[in-house]
Amino acid sequence: MSHLSSERLAELADGEPTVAEAEHLAACAICAAERSAHRRLLSMALDERDRIAPPLTEWSTLAAKLREQRIIADDYVAPSTVETGVVPIAKPRPHRRAWLVGLRVAAGLVFAVGFGALGRMSAGASVAPSGKEMTTLASRVFRGSAEKVMPSVFGDPTSPFSSVEDALATLETSQRNYDRAVAFIAAHDSTVQSPDAGDVFRTRLAALDEMAETSRQALSVAPADPVLNQYYLSTLGAREVTLRQLGSVLPPGTRLTRF
């Protein structure tokens, strides 16, 4: 039997040979090697499926189109966590509430650590926070979260907010400013010039993914919680920016899958 054609060998990457072909493949080292090469190619193609890439468009561009088509509702009102005029039949279980506070603290902690790392990288310092820094951050976040969830804060005469709606509107504005600030920092990040920028961005991306996961878990318990929504959306925004940065420093042809 003569050698198998290149197209037939390509077919046999994931196909079964006839009896005659099988005999030939067992005896012919060239055809057997070619079939193996096609199997490796097929495996490479399968790996492509996990590939991720920076978004092809900017959110602001897409949002403008979505607004034109009324898919984004400009009059959308976010659900509030504080229901007025509704008396709950049963009080929330204390341990569940405590767990939620814990999740908020955890989300806040990873948030602070992650963005602290971002600042350190921009300043040319080490990415990993020291043990002492972690302790300080944890105590700050813990104190901050505890203050946020205590109902007494709403009655504080020194608070600049007159209502929950007022505070939520401020939070919304802050979120937008925060996103712009992160994008600006990313655009002026000196890390991009560094030879190991790819590693730095991968580390940042991994940290942001952990942060997003923690926020996601918390949100599954309290989906309308404005604080948790802030953390989650800010993390996703920073993730997108980092993904773009990583995409810009990778050599042409380099695949971006897991980091």
Binding site: S6, L41, T61, A212, Y232, R255
Partner: protein, 189 residues
């Protein structure tokens, strides 16, 4: 988590829409990029795809993961966009046929560094079939339905595509250096 975001997105909450986009665009946009090839066209198609995904949100029943559901829409809309573009390109090519010489096969010029780069040197039909079958996991029957061809035609395109890619990526597949002559490392029978 996606369910909560999706409900808010259906109601028109920009934050929820942005969160869904931000979470899934690295995968969805990669699919679009693979199928389209040309980055500028891919960016245009991506906008169209995301608008369609968001418009179709109320029909999402949660029977599969949101990412899987969105992936199907992305492939479908991208193929529609490609068909439209190719129709226009074909009519333009028909007009310019006598005056423009087109180099159809740059295979001999250079080896490719990646599957994506190599696939860009396939004919549009072979490229689409290869990406849909070997990368996206569609069956020949599904491809035939999507592209309006026969399953046999899909198979034929796929095996030609694989054979050509094997030659273009010889240095990667065989672990040899890129400047090695492909004719010497990948026998063409």
């Amino acid at each position: 988590m996606d369910q909560v975001l999706i409900q808010r997105a259906i109601e028109g909450d920009e934050r929820a829409l942005q969160a869904l986009w931000s979470q899934h665009s690295p995968h969805i946009d990669a699919v679009i990029r693979r199928l389209v090839g040309d980055p500028d066209l891919a960016a245009d198609v991506a906008q169209e795809v995301w608008i369609q995904i968001f418009r179709a949100l109320p029909s999402y029943r949660g029977e599969s993961q949101f990412g899987t559901w969105a992936h199907r829409i992305a492939v479908n809309r991208t193929l529609n966009a490609l068909r439209r573009t190719r129709r226009i390109a074909k009519s333009e090519a028909d007009i310019e046929d006598d005056t423009v010489a087109v180099e159809h096969d740059s295979e001999r010029a250079l080896l490719a560094a990646s599957i994506e780069e190599a696939a860009n040197r396939l004919s549009p039909g072979a490229r689409t079939v290869f990406m849909m079958h070997d990368v996206e996991g569609y069956t020949h029957e599904e491809i035939a339905r999507e592209l309006g061809i026969t399953p046999g035609g899909s198979k034929s395109q796929l095996f030609k595509a694989r054979a050509k890619l094997r030659r273009l990526l010889a240095h990667v597949v065989d672990g040899l250096t890129p400047d090695t002559d492909p004719e010497n490392v990948a026998p063409v029978f």
